[in-house]
């Protein structure tokens, strides 16, 4: 179907707030606009009602969504059923740490106003749906290099 092409990779990343507004959406598989809307709506519905005492993984269509809530934002990653949930949870946490470093106590507004920067960070982090860099230090160094070029 629409999102099941290559088997083991991240299919999309979503940052949504509690009201369901998407603050960041990166898709690593081709999807029509209307399908993207559907996906975002469904994922939000899935995660927003879950108690904090529940697991951070939910089934989503034929895949899995691994999510975590940080303040008012839900970070959701869609991966294959067989992927290692704990590892991707760490991945989300790493991403948040990096954002925190860049925006000093990052809040939702920071992400809204600096969306291109967030994408830049994300692109250093994940390439073609695969995690390519897991060292926080390396990503931060790289970002400062990129800043100089702008």
């Amino acid at each position: 179907s629409d999102i099941s092409i290559l088997s083991l990779q991240i299919r999309f990343i979503l940052l949504q707030n509690r009201q369901g507004k998407t603050r960041l959406a990166k898709y690593y598989v081709p999807l029509e606009e209307s399908e993207k809307h559907k996906v975002e709506y469904e994922v939000h519905r899935l995660v927003v009602n879950r108690d904090s005492k529940f697991t951070n993984f939910v089934e989503f269509r034929t895949h899995k969504v691994i999510y975590r809530r940080y303040a008012g934002l839900f970070f959701s990653l869609c991966v294959d059923i067989t992927d290692n949930e704990l590892a991707y949870l760490e991945c989300i946490h790493l991403f948040v740490e990096i954002l925190d470093h860049f925006f000093s106590n990052v809040c939702e507004l920071d992400l809204v106003f600096n969306f291109h920067k967030v994408y830049l960070i994300l692109d250093e982090f994940i390439l073609a749906g695969e995690l390519q860099e897991t060292s926080k230090r390396a990503i931060i160094e790289r970002m400062s290099e990129l800043e100089k070029l702008e």
């Binding site: 704990l86 590892a87 390439l127």
Partner: protein, 856 residues
């Protein structure tokens, strides 16, 4: 004027930040206004203005669903700028919006090539990221050599990204493998963990799709498994070995040790530990030490407070439950506890594990407890419970069921669960058991009767399939019924108008069978010359006497006639036809019923008609094999493959509803039911006639009113007062499943009835997964690449093999037989013939892959 306008636009262009601020104040009109601005700005020649416009557009597209495909050409323009900032915006826009259908795709090939060759590593990485995201077949083909170069770049960052891109390139353009594969493999030896992680990640993907092709690389992966200290890398390597070990069992033995090593480490990360456990459970479960260690470790997960770990523990257990149930049994307390967890995911896992532990001895108890859970649960979980009971009990033709009477009444009970939505599966099983298990038919009829006479059930559309099965069973096995009159009355009650027409047709047909049976009993009972009827006692101890009197039979006939009269004018063809058929039949024999009292003539038309119909219904129906249709020889002149596309248009509305349910078991039961109706099939009629009785239905209604979930009734299985409702309203405490449920019990019960099984085609056929032939070319390319790649002594072997490439079959058969002899020395048993056959088969698809000797 135009130029000054554009100057204005450039000078006063809203930046992205302005756009966002404006959006936050008021949306939809602001978006359309901004879009207009953007459209103007983006057409200007000044690249800075253009790129800001593009950036704004990207933002709107990403977060507000605005379409940006129209700006594709402008994105290409922006990317051609020499300023990095512009390039970044341009590539971002391209990655976000380009697809295979974008017409200007051709224009970026050269730009990409230029940037890939750039000395500025940042430009290179931009281009690589873009290619990774949007690479088409053409782009992949055209840019393979650039990617190849970059795979060997001195800059680690570039190399890492190139590796990330490689997967997409291979996917779109398999010939790229010949060029790039060698460099890719070289990178496996890198000491940079990030680089390694990227490479291993690529192989992880590739191996998942086609493990056999990458078997020769096992030694490299093994080295990484032993040496690496990076969790990410290890997790990916484990995944690779999980795939490889399942097709090459000798690998499993080799890999078990390092995996155990990792599991035993003091501060091993939970993610790595989990992956080790999962690998052992899925692919190394034959390795005893590894398995035992993994089971011990998973226990830690199960008792942890962290819900994530608990869930994962349960999930891992379900992987191994099939082959090693002891692992689950060892942890049954945790499983039982998890059933009452609040998280629905955890509950579901626990449920599945519970069902895995079900066997002959404990199935009744566990089902009882689960049904109680179901009543207290939300609809979703309730249906999960019912569904899993149905699956577990029906597996392998009801292998674990010993007491079918109990099971049939359980099925009836499920129908009364308020949230039950498993009507179709229950229907299928009721009919299936009816055809397969003779001894259960009495109970089946009893349960069916209870379902049929209850008017409240007719209003619940989820139960209609079950009622359909009940109706069929009541008609088919009417000889087991205590009161056919009651059945017929229930089948024709006014509320049946709530049923869909197809089920109503079944009801009418069953009523017909009841009628035929009763008439047959009546007429044969009057025969003075007929042999004394066998007195068969029902299990309640009543013995059946004589049968229908004139009064009772004529009231039956009249009741049926009355009930069907109103239907003879319905719109539905099926219902109308059935009703008319029965009415016609009645018309034919009615006058003789009265005469019967006087004349003894057994050759009347009515007699013959009834005898004929009895004969029609007398043959027993058995289960139908799912391969039966294929076995029917095609008649002469029937062309099955003729293109009937023309009919599609005409029949669309008719065909569509059928296509909706792809529940294959639904099709089985549907066809069985329809089969009965279409072919006027038979029921046995060798039984004594039923008791004369007044309408039990009316009495029942008076006594109980409408019931759905009853008031307190005992769960006494032998209750035969006509009240079959076994659900109690007392809600037992949640932890009722005791661990003792799983202790084996010695019970003296009646012997298990005979269950008819078919030799083949018992289960409905499942469609095979469509395998992608796309990967064929890729795997062939990989194999050739691997044959061609050489490292040290392996190079010699490969070269020798290359010379014999044409005679692959014989060559490999020789090799394999040599290896067989070696293995035989080690005590391994392997059949030469079967491996040769296997090699032969493989060789016809791809060239068989040799596992390097050092792993044997």
């Amino acid at each position: 004027m135009a130029s000054s306008n554009s100057l204005m636009d450039s000078l006063f262009q809203r930046s992205l930040e302005d756009l966002i601020k404006g959006l936050r104040l008021g949306e939809s009109t602001f978006i359309s206004r901004s879009l207009e601005e953007i459209r103007r700005e983006i057409k200007l020649t000044d690249l800075s203005t253009k790129s800001v416009a593009l950036q704004k557009l990207s933002y709107l597209a990403a977060l507000h669903g605005v379409d940006m495909a129209w700006a594709a050409f402008h994105a290409v323009e922006v990317v051609s700028s020499s300023r990095f900032a512009h390039k970044r915006i341009g590539y971002h826009a391209i990655a976000q919006s380009f697809s295979d259908q974008t017409p200007v795709m051709l224009l970026i090939t050269n730009q990409l090539r230029k940037d890939l060759n750039s000395s500025n590593e940042h430009e290179v990485s931009l281009a690589l990221e873009c290619l990774a995201r949007i690479g088409t077949d053409d782009l992949a083909r055209d840019l393979t050599s650039e990617v190849f170069t970059l795979l060997g770049s001195s800059k680690a960052l570039v190399r890492k990204k190139a590796i990330g891109v490689v997967l997409r390139v291979f996917d779109k353009y398999p010939d790229a493998v010949k060029v790039c594969f060698k460099r890719l493999v070289e990178n496996l030896e890198s000491s940079d963990p990030q680089l390694l992680s990227a490479v291993v990640g690529v192989f992880c993907e590739l191996t998942a799709k086609d493990p056999r092709s990458y078997l020769p690389l096992a030694p490299e992966f093994y080295k990484i498994l032993v040496d690496s200290r990076n969790n990410w890398v290890l997790i990916k390597v484990l995944k690779i070995f999980a795939k490889l070990a399942s097709i090459e069992p000798r690998l499993a033995k080799k890999v078990a040790d390092p995996v155990c090593e990792h599991m035993r480490k003091q501060n091993v990360g939970k993610s790595l530990l989990f992956e080790c456990i999962r690998t052992v459970f899925s692919s190394l479960s034959d390795q005893e030490t590894a398995l035992k260690l993994a089971v011990a470790k998973i226990r830690e997960f199960l008792v942890d407070d962290d819900p994530n770990l608990k869930y994962l523990g349960l999930h891992a257990l379900s992987i191994v439950a099939g082959k090693h149930l002891w692992a689950v049994l060892e942890n049954k307390e945790a499983v039982v506890k998890a059933m009452s967890d609040e998280d629905p995911n955890v509950k579901l896992e626990a449920l599945h594990l519970l069902m895995a532990m079900v066997n002959e001895d404990n199935v009744t108890e566990i089902s009882r407890i689960l049904m109680n859970y179901a009543l207290k649960s939300d609809p979703l979980f309730c249906n999960e419970i019912i569904g899993s009971i149905l699956v577990a009990c029906s597996r392998d033709s009801y292998e674990i069921i010993v007491d079918f009477d109990w099971y049939v009444s359980l099925l009836g009970e499920m129908a009364r669960v308020p949230h039950c939505q498993r009507g179709k599966e229950i229907e299928h099983q009721l009919i299936d058991i009816g055809t397969r298990v003779k001894d259960a038919r009495l109970e089946l009829v009893r349960v069916s009767r209870a379902l049929l006479i209850d008017p409240a059930l007719l209003g619940n559309q989820f139960l209609h399939p079950i009622l359909s099965a009940a109706a069929w069973a009541s008609g088919e096995y009417v000889e087991f019924s205590k009161s056919p009159y009651e059945i017929a009355e229930a089948l024709l009650q006014p509320r049946t108008c709530l049923l869909p027409d197809s089920i109503r047709a079944i009801y009418i047909h069953s009523a017909f069978k009841v009628l035929v049976f009763s008439l047959g009993a009546y007429f044969s009972a009057q025969e003075p010359t007929s042999p004394p009827l066998a007195q068969e006692s029902t299990s309640s101890g009543h013995s059946v006497v004589n049968g229908f009197t004139y009064n009772s039979i004529s009231s039956l006939v009249n009741m049926i006639e009355l009930g069907l009269c109103s239907l003879s004018g319905t719109i539905d063809v099926e219902v109308q036809e059935r009703a008319k058929n029965v009415l016609g039949f009645i018309g034919m024999i009615k006058h003789e019923i009265a005469e019967k009292a006087t004349s003894q003539n057994s050759e009347t038309e009515a007699h013959r008609a009834i005898a004929f119909m009895e004969d029609v219904f007398s043959e027993e129906l058995g289960p139908v094999s799912s391969t039966a249709q294929e076995k029917v020889p095609l008649p002469e002149g029937l062309e099955l493959n003729e293109n009937l596309e023309g009919l599609q248009e005409i029949c669309r509305e008719v065909l569509e509803p059928m296509a909706e349910s792809d529940y294959s078991s639904d099709k089985v039961s549907f066809s069985v039911a329809k089969l009965r109706i279409r072919d006027q099939e038979e029921a046995s009629s060798s039984l004594p006639p039923p008791l004369e009785s007044s309408s039990l239905l009316a009495e029942h209604r008076k006594r109980h009113g409408l019931y759905y979930l009853s008031s307190q009734k005992s769960e006494d299985h032998n209750d035969r007062e006509g009240n079959d409702n076994n659900t109690s309203n007392e809600y037992p405490p949640a932890n009722e499943i005791s661990v003792d449920s799983f202790k084996p019990k010695k019970k003296i019960s009646k012997p298990r009835p005979v269950v008819v099984k078919l030799d083949e085609g018992d289960e409905p056929k499942r469609k095979p997964d469509a395998s992608s032939s796309n990967d064929e070319s890729l795997s062939r390319a990989i194999q050739t690449a691997l044959m061609g790649k050489g490292k040290g002594k392996e190079k010699e072997k490969e070269r020798v093999k290359e010379n014999h490439e044409m005679n692959v079959d014989t060559e490999n058969i020789e090799q394999s037989s040599r290896r067989e002899k070696k293995n035989k020395k080690n005590g391994e048993r392997s059949s030469k013939r079967s491996s040769r056959r296997q090699r032969g088969k493989e060789a016809s698809v791809t060239k068989p892959v040799e596992v390097p000797d050092l792993l044997l």
